[in-house]
C-alpha cells in the first residue's frame, strides 16, 4: 500500500472520530447551558476560548477558521478521501461525500438555533461511515490504518477531556462525593465521551470522580475508554508492523512508543494514577500518543530513514562502552 494513501486514511479516520467527539461536545454544551445557565460549566470542556452562547456553537460547528469545527473535520476528511477513494469502498466515499454536500447547503451550515439536531445529524453520518468501514473493508492494511487513526484520535480526545477537568480534582477534593454543580459537570464529562449510559450500567450512576476517571481511563472492555482505544490502536499497528517486518524492513519506533502508552493504562491501578498525579499521568499519555503519531508518519507515511537496528545497536554499543569506562 502506498505510504501517502496510508497517511491519508489514517487522517481520514482521525477527522471522522474528531468530528464525532466535537458533535458530542456541541450537544453537551447546549444542554448544560439550558440547564444551568452558567458558562463556566462548559468552558473547561471546550478549552480556553473567550466565547459565549451561540458563538461557541458557531465556533464548534461551522467556523471554517477553527480546524477542529464539525464543518472543518468533515471537509478535511472528505478532501483527503477524494484523493484516495480507490482505497475505500464506494459506500464509504459516498457517505462522506453526501455529508459534505449537505454541509455546503447554506441553510444547514449556519445552525444557530439548531445546533443539537445539526450536530446529531453529522454525528450519525460519521458513525455510519465507521460502520460502513467495518462491514465493507477486508482486514488488511487500509482497514488497519483506519482503525489506528480512529483509536489514536479517540484515546487522545478522551485524555484531553479528562485533563481539562483534572484541576477540579486538585487539593484532594476527589475523595469525597461532589455536590451540586459538580455532579452536572461530571455527567457532562461522561456525555462528552459518549459514556454516560455505559457508566450508569456499570456503577448505577453514582457519579464519583475517581470511578469516573477509572472508567474513562482504565476500563478494559468499554470502547470509549483510553485503555480500550490504545489496545485497539496497538493491535492494528502490530498487524501493520508484521507486514513490514515480513518484507524485511524495520517496524520502526512507533510500535514501542504506543506500546508504552498502552502499558501505562493497562498496568496502573486507579489509586496509583492519583498517587502519581492525574494531570501528569494524562499529560504523559497524551505526549506518548503525539510522539507515536509522529514516529508513525516518519516510518510508514513519509518513509523517512529512521533510526533503525543499525543505529540502535551502534548506540547500545556506545552506551556499553561509556558504562565500562565508568566502572
Amino acid at each position: 500500500m502506498l505510504s501517502r494513501v496510508a497517511d491519508d486514511l489514517f487522517w481520514v479516520a482521525r477527522y471522522v472520530e474528531r468530528g464525532i467527539a466535537v458533535s458530542r461536545l456541541v450537544d453537551v454544551t447546549r444542554h448544560l447551558e439550558l440547564d444551568a445557565g452558567t458558562e463556566d460549566f462548559w468552558a473547561p470542556l471546550v478549552g480556553a476560548i473567550d466565547l459565549a452562547g451561540d458563538d461557541v456553537r458557531f465556533y464548534l460547528t461551522s467556523d471554517t477558521m477553527n480546524p477542529d469545527s464539525l464543518v472543518s473535520c468533515v471537509r478535511a476528511a472528505r478532501t483527503l478521501s477524494r484523493g484516495i477513494r480507490e482505497a475505500m469502498s464506494s459506500e464509504m466515499w459516498e457517505e462522506l461525500n453526501s455529508l459534505y454536500g449537505s454541509l455546503a447547503t447554506p441553510t444547514i451550515a449556519r445552525p444557530r438555533g439548531e445546533a443539537i439536531s445539526f450536530a446529531r445529524l453529522v454525528r450519525e453520518q460519521l458513525q455510519s461511515f465507521q460502520g460502513l468501514a467495518e462491514s465493507t473493508l477486508a482486514r488488511d492494511e487500509p482497514w488497519h490504518f483506519l482503525e489506528l487513526g480512529k483509536f489514536v484520535e479517540r484515546a487522545d480526545d478522551v485524555a484531553r477531556v479528562l485533563n481539562r477537568q483534572s484541576h477540579l480534582l486538585a487539593a484532594g477534593s476527589h475523595t469525597k462525593d461532589p455536590t451540586g454543580p459538580d455532579v452536572v459537570r461530571w455527567l457532562a464529562v461522561l456525555r462528552t465521551c459518549g459514556s454516560a449510559e455505559a457508566y450508569a450500567r456499570y456503577y448505577s450512576l453514582r457519579v464519583e470522580p475517581a470511578r469516573l476517571v477509572e472508567f474513562l481511563l482504565l476500563n478494559p472492555i468499554f470502547p470509549q475508554s483510553v485503555r480500550f482505544s490504545l489496545t485497539g490502536a496497538c493491535l492494528s499497528l502490530d498487524a501493520i508492523a508484521a507486514l513490514r517486518t515480513a518484507a524485511g524492513n524495520e517496524p520502526g519506533p512507533a510500535v514501542r512508543t504506543l506500546g508504552r502508552a498502552r502499558a501505562q493504562v493497562e498496568l496502573t491501578a486507579i489509586d496509583e494514577v492519583f498517587e502519581r498525579g492525574l494531570e501528569g499521568f494524562l499529560s504523559n499519555i497524551q505526549q506518548l500518543i503525539a510522539q507515536a503519531s509522529e514516529e508513525l508518519s516518519a516510518t510508514y507515511l513519509r518513509d523517512e530513514p529512521v533510526p533503525g537496528r543499525l543505529v540502535g545497536v551502534a548506540r547500545a554499543t556506545m552506551i556499553m562502552a561509556a558504562q565500562q569506562q565508568q566502572q
Binding site: M1, S3, R4, R82, R85, E86, G101, E141, Y300, D303
Partner: protein, 486 residues
C-alpha cells in the same frame, strides 16, 4: 411513423437544416431510432424530468465531478448528462472502427519513423521543419525503442458529422485523452434511471474498458511477465481526477502521484508501507512537460526526477510514450491522410476535415482573407481554448486572430465552420436539437481495440458549436448496436 404516435415530449421537434441523428425529416424518425422514439411517446415531460433529476443526483452523490480551470478552491461541477442516448448502427460502427484502427496504426508507424530513421522527412510529402519544429517533438527520444513499437496506448479521436451525415475525424488526441470514465458511468447511470429503454435494443457493453486497458498496459511491461502497473495522476486538483481514481480502482492498480515515486539505480520505485516496490509500467495522466523536472520543466512538482533517463534505458514503460504530442499537433493533422498513404499504402477510411495550415503561404493568405468564415485553432491547445469561431466572433476578435496568425503562422490552423450534426436533447421540458460530436477510445497493445461507443459530447446552449465540458458542454450515453433492429 405516423403523426398520431408522435412523442409527447417531441411535439414540435424541428430537425432544422443540420444532419439530425434521429430524424430524417420533420416527423420522420430514422429506422434505428424508431423504438426509442416510441418509448419517448409514452413519457410525459414530468416523467423525464424525474429521471433527469435521479441521474443528476447519482452523479453528485458519487462525486463524479471535475473542477473548472484547475481551480482547487473553485466549485466542483458534474458534467451535465442528457438522458436521450445517441445510437450508432452496427454497420456504420464497423466502418468507424476500421477507420480508427487504420489511423492509429499509421500514426504509430509515423512516430516510430520520426524517432528513428525519419524516412518520411526525406520525401517531399511533409515539411521537415513542421515535424521537427512541433512543440510535441522530443529529441531526447530519438533512437529509443518502445515495447511492441506502440507509442499511443490510449487514443481519443474526436469525430464529427457534417450536414450530409459524413463522419470526419476532427482531431486525434494522442497524449492523455480523457473522458472514458464518463462513457462507463453514463451507461451505468442511464441503466439505473431508465432501464426500460434498453429492452428494445441490443447495445454493446462498454463496461470492459478498464480490463482492456489493463491488458494493454500489462502487455508493454519492460521484460517482466507480471509487471507492476500504476496510474500517475497530477492529483485531486486536476480536472480529470475522478477519472484517474475510477480507472485505478477498476483496474485494481495503485493511483500514484509524483511524490510517491522515486528513481534509484535506474529503476522506478513507489513508497509503500512495507518499503519500496518496483514499478514497471506507468499509465501517466501527466503531460510530458511535467513528467521529470530533471529533463523537462524544472519547476514541476508533479513528476519524478530521473524518470526520463530510466525510461530511455527501457527499464520502465511510460504510456502513452513521451513525445506523442508530435502526431496530434493540429498542423501535422492536416497530413494524416498522407501519412496513412505513405506507411500503409491505403486511402484513409475516415476523412479529415479540410484544414488550412497557416505555416503554408498559400493557406495563410486564404485564412487571412476568409477568417470570418473559418474556425481558427491554436495547434497546441485543447479543451476548446485558443479557438476562434469566425462566423460567431466580433470584429475585434477577428482582427486579433489575424494578427496572431501573421505573427506565429506555425502556431495556427484553420478549418471551415462545420455544420455539426444535431441530436434531440432535453431542454427544460421538451426536446430540442443540439450539436454533438463523438470521442471514441482506441486501445493499442498487441492489437488495436476500439471501445464500442465513446463519449458523445453535446453543446447544451442552443446554437452553440462548443461541446467541451469546460465550456458548457454535456454528454450522452452512446449506443453501438450489436445488430440492426429488425
Amino acid at each position: 411513423m405516423t403523426a398520431g404516435s408522435r412523442a409527447s415530449v417531441l411535439p414540435s421537434y424541428v430537425p432544422g437544416e443540420f444532419w439530425d441523428e434521429m430524424f430524417e425529416a420533420p416527423g420522420q424518425v430514422r429506422p434505428h431510432y424508431a423504438e426509442l422514439a416510441r418509448r419517448l411517446t409514452t413519457l410525459s415531460s414530468a416523467d423525464v424530468q424525474k429521471r433527469q433529476r435521479a441521474a443528476d443526483l447519482s452523479f453528485q452523490a458519487q462525486g463524479i465531478t471535475f473542477s473548472v480551470n484547475q481551480d482547487p478552491s473553485g466549485p466542483e461541477k458534474t458534467m451535465p448528462f442528457d438522458l436521450v442516448p445517441r445510437i450508432v448502427m452496427a454497420e456504420e460502427w464497423k466502418r468507424i472502427e476500421r477507420g480508427l484502427e487504420q489511423r492509429v496504426r499509421a500514426l504509430n508507424l509515423f512516430l516510430h519513423d520520426i524517432y528513428h530513421e525519419q524516412r518520411i522527412l526525406r520525401t517531399e510529402l511533409i515539411p521537415a521543419e513542421l515535424v521537427l519544429g512541433a512543440r510535441g517533438y522530443r529529441r531526447e527520444f530519438r533512437t529509443v525503442d518502445v515495447p511492441l513499437g506502440v507509442y499511443t496506448h490510449v487514443v481519443g479521436s474526436d469525430l464529427v458529422r457534417d450536414g450530409r451525415g459524413t463522419w470526419f475525424v476532427l482531431e486525434d488526441n494522442l497524449r492523455v485523452p480523457s473522458g472514458v470514465s464518463y462513457v462507463v458511468e453514463n451507461r451505468r447511470v442511464l441503466k439505473r434511471v431508465w432501464p426500460q429503454i434498453f429492452t428494445d435494443y441490443r447495445v454493446r457493453p462498454v463496461e470492459g474498458y478498464p480490463q482492456d486497458l489493463l491488458e494493454v498496459l500489462r502487455a508493454v511491461g519492460p521484460g517482466s511477465d507480471d509487471p507492476t502497473v500504476v496510474l500517475l495522476t497530477p492529483g485531486v486538483h486536476n480536472s480529470a481526477f475522478f477519472e484517474h481514481a475510477f480507472l485505478a480502482k477498476s483496474m485494481g492498480i495503485d493511483l500514484v502521484q509524483g511524490s510517491d515515486l522515486f528513481v534509484d539505480d535506474a529503476a522506478v520505485y513507489m513508497r509503500t508501507t512495507r518499503g519500496r516496490r518496483r514499478v514497471d509500467v506507468i499509465y501517466r495522466r501527466v503531460d510530458d512537460d511535467f513528467l521529470d523536472p530533471l529533463a523537462f520543466r524544472a519547476d514541476s512538482l508533479l513528476g519524478v526526477p530521473g524518470l526520463l533517463a530510466t525510461c530511455r534505458m527501457g527499464r520502465v514503460t511510460i504510456a502513452n510514450a513521451i513525445g506523442t504530442g508530435l502526431a496530434d499537433d493540429k498542423a501535422i493533422y492536416a497530413y494524416v491522410p498522407t501519412i496513412i498513404k505513405y506507411y500503409l499504402g491505403e486511402d484513409e477510411i475516415l476523412p479529415n476535415v479540410k484544414t488550412y495550415v497557416a505555416d503554408d503561404p498559400t493557406d495563410r493568405a486564404y485564412i487571412l482573407e476568409h477568417i470570418a468564415e473559418l474556425v481558427v485553432k491554436s495547434v497546441n491547445e485543447s479543451g476548446g481554448y485558443g479557438m476562434l469561431i469566425g462566423p460567431h466572433a466580433p470584429k475585434k476578435d477577428l482582427d486579433a486572430y489575424r494578427t496572431r496568425v501573421r505573427d506565429d503562422p506555425r502556431g495556427y490552423i484553420a478549418q471551415p465552420t462545420l455544420a455539426l450534426s444535431r441530436h434531440p436533447t432535453w431542454s427544460v421540458d421538451h426536446l430540442e436539437g443540439r450539436h454533438v460530436d463523438l470521442r471514441p477510445f482506441i486501445l493499442f497493445g498487441r492489437d488495436v481495440k476500439v471501445t464500442p461507443g465513446g463519449l458523445t459530447r453535446v453543446a447544451l446552449r442552443s446554437g452553440s458549436l462548443v461541446v467541451n465540458s469546460s465550456q458548457g458542454g454535456g454528454a450522452k450515453d452512446t449506443w453501438v448496436l450489436e445488430a440492426e433492429p429488425c
